[in-house]
Symmetry: D2
Subunit: 248 residues, 4 copies
């Protein structure tokens, strides 16, 4: 059994993590802490892995404190800059235990991580590729960070394979062709009822490959969080991105 | 058996019509004419319905000549203006046979016509609606005429039902949200391998309705052409739009 | 403001109705009752419409009691037999108020109701039609009642149009072609993460029409429940099926 | 320029290969042969790669003859048994040129090959996985060979990861749940207008990953045939399956 403490346990994501850790066969909940609680309660005696889902303004301090406590950390909070990441690396280098591990992921949905990865593998074999992302209408940014990432993944793969621009004879358009990111057209749909979805369309003469990831609710992140909890301790140092823990 | 003459029989669409008319159980090919052929060969003795698939520059003259010959006409050529349509109406009013009929359709794909019609019926019951059209990359205009039509269909239905603007919290966007036509976001994908496709997405809290029409090739228009051939003579005067011949 | 009392207010569906009625602009919550509560509290002074979401074993008695109280009723509980429906009709005929109304629906998801209706309109225009339903893996029956209904809707439309059997050259199959209901192939997918989804596929030479309804969660029924609450009092007597309240 | 001879050049697939080879920038057509033509015309002076698209009854003899002529061979004809493959291996072992190469593929559609491969990579990370294949109604076998292959790919991946059976509470079903192949439910749709399509659905709590390959027409195989033509000579011996030539 992996003993897991949750930091930010009263938040929406943290609450889901508490449930997921409690229900999984190979994990058990150690401590459930939230703002105001003393992180020095977390230590190797009661905790194998701490899961940190709080807010960007406090996450770095939490992670540094948890490293100081000698536990491995899985971080779901966003807002990580290169500077902050360097501070985590420095703290790990200075930690007494040499195999201590921290894992940070921008997206814990396995389907989304795989869709991005598969798009990168497939892109070099298709003349055309476009990205359509679909989200709930309360989202303030468009397109999604995931879609931007996928566009770059596709563009990188095409460049590496020596592919030129995609075919497109469009002469007249008032904006319907979407946003061009690194040469890849990206379209954003906002629809009541949806949560977070991404579709990658790839086409050759006579054929199409479609890769679609649907995240229906917050629970969609839990398989990814559990995967990270199970994997983090085998990867000393700082690891970024759930694809690093997938056997691909 | 309905006797059908095809005008523009050597063109790509006309050739498909010749095949479709020959193969259907209840139609037979009368004359197959093309540029340079004498339209006065077409008359009520040999022809019940003439199908005209040529080019915009000659289509009006052909249709007027065929009305003069006393046969009903199904027109697939595009480029009809209000002025041209008025000339057709005038010719029909002056025709010796009072029940003579002409039918003109911008789109003969039954699936596309139904998708547009269903979008109009459904739109008033959903908070959100967007249109995604997908075509081959040789298309020069974006979005497609069909998608523009569907956007207006949705907007009309929402206005008639007293619905306000759709929910959309987007603050930052570089163009990914597509083109707004009559208040409806329209997205155009261009992908090698595709032909002509349209998807209408409608959303409420917790639910989505998707209506998609795929036209894989030119053959997709033949069921609609045959439907028009079978229906035109029962609709004297000028009829525009295949939905008029569908029992909806 | 429509005054709405909820019977079964502590159930999962009833709780959602309480929230929906409270949040909508044109409805307000009157009484929230559950098992053990006295239904004679509900009367025309405090209630315009009672919404009954309980269990099949008590629903008929509840509806008869509410008719006796002189309020209109929207019923979401399932398990209605012809015999039970006749008892409701008899109670309505004997009610002192002649325009009293009861509405019963097997499915309140507007997208599902529209998909079924559109399938019926479209079916006569296509050579082929099949139904794919997709649900969470805890569902004990396959295919879904909605899919069975849609298969009959398609079959009825084909019969009315004089269409024969669909083309199908299959000679060898170990069960992959699914269940044939009234001549229509129905396929049932069970997948963790899904809720309740139905896809109707219609095909002609060169073209396809796809109609898909997704119900992502219980909230998907609330727009339909609110529509019924707003519509029921204008339809005296017993009305069955949400399509009766849609302007199609 | 790769000099390519086509065996079966008058067949439907062979004719497409002649066109594809003629149009590609890095290949040129050497000989176009069909039934009755003398294969000894094909030799290393005029041909780098021979593409064989004939019928199962003559394909083995053709391939053995072409090996004898000292050219590399890409084979698209189906019907290969282990015994036939052994004869090809033996011929290659006895060939004077030690780096002679033969490539045989059951499916040249890159999208289908990638879909199968991605299904295998993803399967271990999802609780549920099902396969839906969709084809034209003239197909006599169901499900498709590709779908059967994908079901085994998924099952193998799940076994390797130690996953147990998928969740499925179905108690009553008249066949709608499809055919179970190696523990994976496979569904086959037959619809006029379709060609060859496969969809792999993978689900976890709250999320879904969908991988779909569409082959719209025979042209969909040409990018795969060209890839094989370009790759075969760098892979001495017998290679089976287009995934071997993809850089994954």
């Amino acid at each position: 059994m992996i003993k897991v403490s949750v930091i930010g346990a009263k938040g929406r994501m943290g609450g889901n993590v508490v449930n997921a850790v409690t229900q999984a066969d190979d994990t058990e909940l150690a401590l459930a802490l939230d703002a105001g609680d003393d992180l020095t309660q977390v230590n190797p005696d009661n905790t194998d892995v701490a899961v940190e889902f709080t807010v960007p303004s406090v996450s770095l301090d939490n992670v540094l404190a948890l490293i100081g406590q000698g536990v491995d950390v899985v971080v779901g909070t966003t807002g990580w800059t290169d500077e902050k990441l360097d501070q985590v690396r420095a703290a790990l280098a200075a930690a007494p235990r040499k195999d201590q591990a921290v894992f940070i992921a921008p997206n814990f949905a396995i389907s989304a991580v795989l869709a991005d990865y598969f798009a990168g593998l497939a892109a070099r074999y298709f003349e055309s590729a476009e990205v359509v992302e679909l989200h709930h209408p309360n989202k303030v940014d468009a397109p999604s960070g995931t879609a931007i990432h996928t566009a770059h993944t596709i563009a990188d793969a095409r460049r590496a394979a020596g592919l030129g621009p995609m075919p497109d004879a469009t002469e007249t358009d008032g904006g319907s062709r979407g946003q061009v990111i690194d040469g890849v057209h990206v379209h954003a749909v906002r629809l009541r009822g949806l949560n977070a979805h991404e579709e990658v369309l790839l086409g050759n003469a006579g054929e199409q490959l479609t890769i679609r990831a649907d995240s229906f609710d917050r629970g969609s992140f839990m398989p990814g969080v559990l995967l990270a909890v199970r994997s983090v301790s085998a990867h000393p140092g700082l690891t970024i991105g759930l694809d690093k823990f997938l056997d691909l």
